[in-house]
Amino acid sequence: EPEVTQTPSHQVTQMGQEVILRCVPISNHLYFYWYRQILGQKVEFLVSFYNNEISEKSEIFDDQFSVERPDGSNFTLKIRSTKLEDSAMYFCATKQGTNTGELFFGEGSRLTVL
């Protein structure tokens, strides 16, 4: 069964460092997302990406965050200068098209900022 894969599964970093989280989408999917879950809280939408550009972003997704598909396969989330409050589980999700509505989630990347 096709799946969304994320790397790394866990990353520990120092405050102020740059972090890149990677996602390999399901091959025929066209829509890509990043969600975040701070420990003990709900899953929150960060950003959606379609046709090589951001289609929607939340208030959380400020200038410290960026996304891209550098090689047409990986979908990355970059946090330029991490803060303590960026510690969370980051989920990548992908969707085939607008009509299905079903998002397929990866297993998540846990980011710990010290």
């Binding site: 709900k42 939408f45 989920f91 999700a93 969707k95 509505g101 998002l103 297993e107």
Partner: protein, 113 residues
Amino acid sequence: AQSVTQPDIHITVSEGASLELRCNYSYGATPYLFWYVQSPGQGLQLLLKYFSGDTLVQGIKGFEAEFKRSQSSFNLRKPSVHWSDAAEYFCAVLYNQGGKLIFGQGTELSVKP
């Protein structure tokens, strides 16, 4: 504003007992609704979804959910819980065709022998 409420933060049931997890939503139009399950250290797995049609939807692992427009609810049920069902369950509504999901707070399910 669109929102999803899961009133029960934690539920404990005995193995073999029935289960109902509550979900209420606030949404202006006909909602697309989902239930996801998250086992410890794992990602989110889709249990079932409602887009239209029959208001009782069947999902994986023996779960079902019923959409009740009059109550703005989409409760998840299972007639007989297994120990492996212990996990966190999230209800979500599709905010727009772009795929943004609004999640509830989650309900943690514990199963006692």
